[in-house]
Subunit: 155 residues, 2 copies
DNA sequence: TTTACTGCAAAAGGTTTGCATGGGT
DNA sequence: ACCCATGCAAACCTTTTGCAGTAAA
């Protein structure tokens, strides 16, 4: 731990910016539980622990934390962006249940190969890939409550 | 063509809703060029052709068109959602250049296998997957203008 | 005739920004 | 001392909603 903070401090200094207690608090909170989050949730978590941080500061710092490769956007849902810590985690993707919201993280070896194939085929330098798989988890398939009613014109 | 309109009309009727000229206009415009779009762009395209559609109607209809499986959300960028027509198109994913915005569509056979593997492994019923790959296209790699400066703590 | 749909304008909700103050370097 | 970062509040922008009139069924 603490490692993320060191990286971020170095990143900030290299850019000629300033290391502040607020920046450290934010990083610390994000990596304290290491789970997906959104701005409002992070803000409340911090305030509940006595921090005097403002949402503006969180919004202003998120782009920096992303550029430092410590977090990334994962999906946009319910009208706002969701993020996840990525430092230290192996790369992974998500399986999300549309009924109950459960998130299953996975990594499939094949994806690396697909990526290499794409780089060659299109002469493209890949920075990141985001695979978001949605559907119904085993539990929700059983108590079929039907909510979305998808129509399919399959072929 | 026109086929999308028939499907949508049937879908609307089956739900006990009403087929209106506005709904037909929207579908027609979306499939007239068959490309990615966002609400504002679609609105302007329609108005420029003399339509008297309102943005509210577009916003109210998009969820229905998605449920009818004619379009889907592709990514959230610049503060708003982007969509693409999917009826008639084979399933595909995107390679997006972060510098110039170029979008390359592709499909890799392997992804179907990954999906099947996930369904088995997690007993999950997959409805859709969205693979969004970002990086630099060949052209932008050459005239290296450096804009994003990504830091990597690779291992 | 019933009631869903439309356009308009206002509201809502997430994110950004201007400003005065405070604090790294 | 310089000037970047912060908190606050206002502004901004996309999306949603209330309403009164219109038109499918």
């Amino acid at each position: 731990m603490g490692e993320e903070i060191d990286l971020f401090r170095a990143f900030i200094s290299k850019r000629g910016l300033r290391n502040t207690p607020e920046r450290e608090e934010i990083i610390r909170e994000i990596f304290s539980c290491n789970d997906h989050f959104d701005v409002d949730e992070l803000y409340l978590r911090m305030r509940n622990k006595g921090s005097r941080i403002s949402k503006a500061s969180i919004y202003r710092n998120i782009p920096l934390i992303m550029q430092c490769n410590l977090i990334r956007e994962v999906w946009h849902e319910d009208g706002h962006m969701h993020y996840e810590p990525i430092y230290g985690q192996g790369h992974h993707c998500h399986l999300r249940c549309l009924k109950c919201g459960t998130v299953i993280e996975f990594y499939d070896e094949e994806l690396g190969k697909v990526e290499k194939r794409l780089e060659r085929k299109f002469d493209f330098e890949i920075i990141e890939h985001r695979l978001d798989v949605t559907g119904h988890c085993s539990e929700c398939r059983d108590n079929r409550t039907r909510r979305g009613e998808h129509v399919s014109h399959d072929k």
